[in-house]
Amino acid sequence: MIARALRWLMLLQVLAALGLAWLLWQAGLRQAAPALLLGVLGVLLVRALIVARNFWHSRRFAGTPAPQPLGAAAATRLFVGELGANLRTSSWGMLRPRLSVPATPGQGAPSRLPVLLIHGYVCNRGFWAPLSGQLAQAGVAHGAVDLEPVNAGIDDVLPLVERAIAELLALAGGEQVVIVAHSMGGLVARAYLRRHGGAQVARVITLGTPHHGTALANLALGSNARQMSRPGGQPNAWLAQLDADEPPHTRTLITSIYSQHDNIVAPQDSARLPGARNCAYAGLGHVALASDPRVLRQVLSEITIVSEVGAAAFASHRC
């Protein structure tokens, strides 16, 4: 459904670019190539303005401590990187939602635990193209969920996660998976642990997850957005309950990777989860987190460690 909507949106953008080119043509620019180029640039400008607005909005609710200040060059890289990541996911990757498959299934790295990918708000598995490619290259079996309907409450999509874990274990063998989740997907993973416990999950790695909500969700639609909101600048009741229900040993299963300059999670500190392993990066946007080479390297190394050393290493007092 997301893929279809995004394809329509893509068509709309193409039409808008053509329309703009046509207007320029009418206005006297009688050369096709420059007119088309300007048309495309016009659409890109609108996309850039949307991303800029998110940065502005997230900065307003940054809270304390304020994110580390960035120089002009780093700030430009942050913005351009995030815009690029946005375009690649929402105008390409998620239009054709598929995962890469390890070249020799079950042979590349048989000792590695299989990985389940859980995307964020209003996305699909196509979001994971960069990580999926790397996992396939490393020979790691992996699967993904597509969280639908897009506005469903977080607890309502848990059966999808349960089924996906069962399918992945049936495919790859073994007893446990590693969950890698982006944004809202991290809350889905924690809600899964609350309902089903950690018997089948060796580790949860969240990327840019608003563990304590985000001010930007206050304006978004859907039950899930409400569950990520911060009414009055505080986590909503659902998040507070999730926090209260989570035993300390579950926290030791979680790695939270986030950016101090996230443009969707605000305050950015919301991704810092006490008791979990927290890793903050600087100068990365919300979507760019899932394709940044350093982040992907870290995700792969965490999957390797937990596969080779065992989940017990991270939490030798699992109850």
Binding site: P65, Q68, P69, A74, R77, P248, H249, R251, T252, T255, Q260, P274, G275, A276, R277, N278, C279, A280, Y281, A282, G283, L284, R294, Q298, S301, T304, I305, S307, E308, V309, A313, F314, A315, S316, H317
Partner: protein, 546 residues
């Protein structure tokens, strides 16, 4: 199989960090920086990152080597010679106190047990009252604690305590003695229990994996196996620092000398080496304060055997404490002590336990059932607990003379009694107060009678320490401290001291967090003074994009 755990130091070196191992140098050289920092432990590490972030060129000098997670094999026999001062056998002049102190990049933070306490309010109040430190209120320090706690992931530890710590909690609870949980500077800790041998998973947020890498990434330079010999003084200025290169084992000089030039020097060698360097340099000391009032938290140990396995080597080493006996008397009354549990590993346990031959072997055979408690005596708050004095031997090496007064021995006796009672209350089969003339006692009544009757003298009761503090006290009053409250050394315009030697008394708690916060405060002030701009603070865990 190579370790799947990424080594951030190896990665940084591969990426071109400017690290020079002085043992490899074939010729002497002169190096120059805005600021030379001597020591890479709690004080030096924090200072290095903050000054580097302020845009200053920083050169860090470390006597130890650069060892990192790939070297940390959880083996005592490797770790102690490689990572500790004098192979973990540094001693006071009369050999009555054994001192565990780090000597590696990251200093003691690389090998400590992660216990993180803010400076107790009572200690700060005493400093204001007695030591001329009006600016060191709880409120004034709170933001600096918050800053470093965030940087070093200091937070509550979510995992249940291991049996070694839980026995302290249960025994104290049975006696109505309150205990509390210790916060730790860890991020993603595997709960292994080998912190003292260097964290093999890089979870411990020591200087080695936090501030030093951040500073190096910002272009700071690090010189290892380099012993700061003496400052060359020119009037009120330090003209240069003379440095001796040590061999790869970090023991003997190679004969190569280096000269370091800087606008400003920050001395952070720890409370024994810092005053020693100043003594070797004939630094101004009109009131004969330098090296005096050096504190150790003299620590005594009570070992117990339990029917069940304790496995005191496994799991986070220190997670439960009790400050009950710090509060029984006024802070400047009979000496108080803090109770904690030490991790027990075979080598450290075998060398710390008293006794010989069969008796010793018998205790070691019970190793998995052994439980340890320790009491840290809060020295420096009473005239009869005035600490020790650092002086130099004929080779210029520091010697700490630390007399153990009857006032301290009174505290030792009370501490051994309290620990034995707690261990019996927790169900101990026997308790052995670590003292050459003591035995394994099988009841609280028997232990009490025996401890009351033990003679308390140096080398009879085992006294150890892992906390060195004082010797270069700071004070607003120049008659009380060689440094002012900003850590500036009086009489030398381009020298600051940023380590635990600034403390005018002991802390009454494991000192790492006190040193981090103090160094953050002083380094921020120094950065502003040197650059004319407000200090920028810390960065993230992960290195900013290049």
């Amino acid at each position: 199989m190579s370790s799947p755990i990424p080594d951030p130091i190896a990665a940084g070196l591969a990426a071109g960090w400017q690290v020079t191992d002085a043992s490899t140098l074939q010729a002497g050289r002169t190096l120059e920086a805005d600021v030379v920092i001597i020591g890479s432990g709690a004080g030096g590490g924090i200072t290095a990152e903050l000054l580097a972030r302020a845009g200053l060129s920083v050169l860090i000098v470390e006597e130890g080597g650069l060892k990192s997670s790939q070297d940390f094999k959880m083996r005592e026999a490797d770790a102690y010679p490689a990572l500790y001062q004098e192979s973990a056998a540094r001693k006071t002049r009369d050999k009555a106190i054994n001192i565990l102190q780090g000597r590696t990049v990251g200093g003691s933070t690389t090998v400590n047990w992660t216990s993180s306490f803010r400076t107790p309010p009572g200690t700060l109040a005493h400093w204001q009252r007695q030591h001329g430190l009006a600016g060191y209120t709880v409120a004034a320090m709170a933001p600096w604690f918050a800053l470093v706690e965030r940087r070093l992931h200091i937070s509550d530890w979510p995992v249940p305590p291991n049996e070694n710590n839980d026995l302290l909690r249960r025994g104290a609870q049975a006696l109505g003695i309150p205990t509390a949980a210790i916060r730790r500077n860890v991020n993603g800790c595997w709960n292994l229990g080998y912190c003292g041998m260097g964290c093999p998973t890089n979870a411990k947020q020591s200087m080695l994996v936090t501030t030093i890498p951040a500073a190096l990434q910002l272009g700071a330079r690090l010189l290892t196996h380099a012993r700061a010999e003496r400052f060359v003084l020119q009037g009120e200025r330090i003209a240069s620092l003379q440095v001796t290169a040590l061999d790869a084992a970090g023991q003997a000089p190679t004969g190569i000398k280096l000269t370091l030039l800087a606008k400003h020097f920050v001395l952070a060698g720890g409370a024994i080496n810092t005053p020693a360097l100043l003594l070797r340099s004939n630094a101004p000391d009109p009131d004969k304060l330098l090296g005096r009032r050096t504190f150790l938290h003299p620590t005594v140990i009570s070992a117990a055997l339990f029917t069940q396995r304790v496995d005191a080597y496994a799991g986070a080493p220190q997670t439960i404490y009790s400050d009950h006996f710090l509060g029984v008397d006024p802070i400047d009354g009979p000496i108080g002590y803090k109770l904690e549990a030490p991790p027990l590993h075979p080598l450290l346990m075998a060398t710390t336990m008293g006794g010989f031959g069969d008796q010793h072997a018998q205790t070691m055979r019970m190793f998995p059932h052994a439980h340890g408690l320790l009491a840290l005596l809060r020295d420096g708050f009473h005239e009869d607990a005035a600490g020790g004095a650092v002086s130099l031997d004929s080779h210029g090496n520091p010697v700490l003379d630390y007399p153990l007064s009857p006032f301290l021995w009174d505290g030792v006796r009370r501490a051994l009694l309290a620990m034995a009672e707690i261990q019996f209350a927790a169900g101990a089969r026997s308790v052995y107060p670590v003292h050459e003339m003591a035995h394994h006692y099988t009841s609280w009544a028997q232990a009490r009678q025996a401890i009351e009757g033990l003679p308390f003298k140096p080398l009879l009761a085992r006294v150890v320490s892992a906390h060195v503090m004082g010797g270069c006290a700071m004070s607003d009053d120049e008659r009380l401290g060689v440094c002012d409250a900003q850590g500036r050394y009086r009489g030398l315009v381009n020298l600051s001291v940023h380590d635990g030697s600034l403390f005018p008394t002991s802390i009454g708690a494991n000192p790492q967090l006190s040193i981090y916060a103090l160094a953050a405060r002083l380094a921020s002030g120094l950065a502003q003074a040197l650059t004319g701009k407000p200090a920028p603070g810390f960065g993230t865990d992960m290195v900013a994009p290049a």
